[in-house]
């Protein structure tokens, strides 16, 4: 099993499909179930779309991770876009567009096991999510 990483440049909406397909392929290769692989692909789709919609371009990195017991997948979505002014609002779970910024971040958080975000106005956004194999 290789522990390399796959980098997918996100330059247009076409790259969203490519990113999520590569993510699903890696998840299946790691032994994730069909359901979990779809959850991972869906999270990648949302993160890649945020890059296209708000930053224009960016990058998705997919990486195999391992701690003492578990194997998992790490997804990093990074861009140098305008950043998020109100992170708390972006993470508020409105279950729809009401009350949230419509970035789908609360949904991505639910799809994955671990979620981290760093963003500053004018300095881009970096979202890191992990899912561990059950």
């Amino acid at each position: 099993m290789s522990f390399g990483e796959i980098r997918v440049a996100i330059d247009s909406e076409q790259d969203i499909v490519s990113a999520r397909q590569q993510g699903r392929a890696l998840a299946l290769e790691l032994g994730f179930s069909a359901v979990d692989s779809t959850l991972i692909a869906t999270a990648i789709s949302e993160l890649a779309r945020n890059i296209v919609s708000y930053a224009g371009t960016g990058e998705i990195t997919l990486k195999t991770i391992q701690d003492s017991t578990w194997k998992g997948i790490l997804i990093v979505a990074a861009d140098d876009g305008p950043g998020i002014y109100d992170l708390r609002q972006a993470l508020r779970d409105g279950f729809s567009t009401s009350g949230s910024l419509g970035l789908g971040l609360p949904g991505v958080k639910r799809l994955m096991d671990e979620f981290q975000i760093a963003s500053q106005p004018g300095k881009g956004t970096r979202v890191e999510v992990k899912k561990w194999r059950q």
Binding site: Q14, Q21, T38, T42, E46, G104, R110, L111
Partner: protein
């Protein structure tokens, strides 16, 4: 990847052949609405069996499409949502509220036939 649209009597059937990009989905929406107008269709079936992921953009596009088609007096049925895709949609908080769904093409056709039976 263009989605072929099949005319079957009063109904239109659009079957996804593979994963669709945002642009493909928007194009499908335009195309289907235009054909509903052109053929005065009563019902539309969208078969998403081949759709790998139904994210927020895809479900919003399908929901809006169904609403536009309803304004033309026709009904849309989404068929073939895979179990794992449905699971992910629920986790993500996505619904296809206001849009009919059915298990597969056959049940979708049965639904539309039933729906329009009285007016035949």
């Amino acid at each position: 990847m263009e989605v072929p649209i099949l005319k079957q009597g009063e109904f239109l059937i659009a079957t996804f052949q593979a994963a669709l990009s945002d642009a493909d989905l928007s194009q499908l929406r335009r195309g289907l609405v235009a054909q509903v107008v052109r053929f005065r269709s009563r019902g539309v079936i969208v078969d998403v069996t081949a759709m790998d992921v139904m994210d927020s953009y895809a479900s919003r596009t399908l929901r809006e499409m169904a609403q536009m088609i309803r304004l033309r007096g026709a009904e849309t049925v989404i068929v073939g949502i895979q179990p794992e895709v449905a699971f992910a949609m629920v986790q993500l908080g996505l619904t296809l509220e206001g849009v009919a769904t059915a298990l597969d093409l056959e049940e979708g056709l049965a639904y539309l036939n039933q729906r329009f039976k009285s007016t035949d």
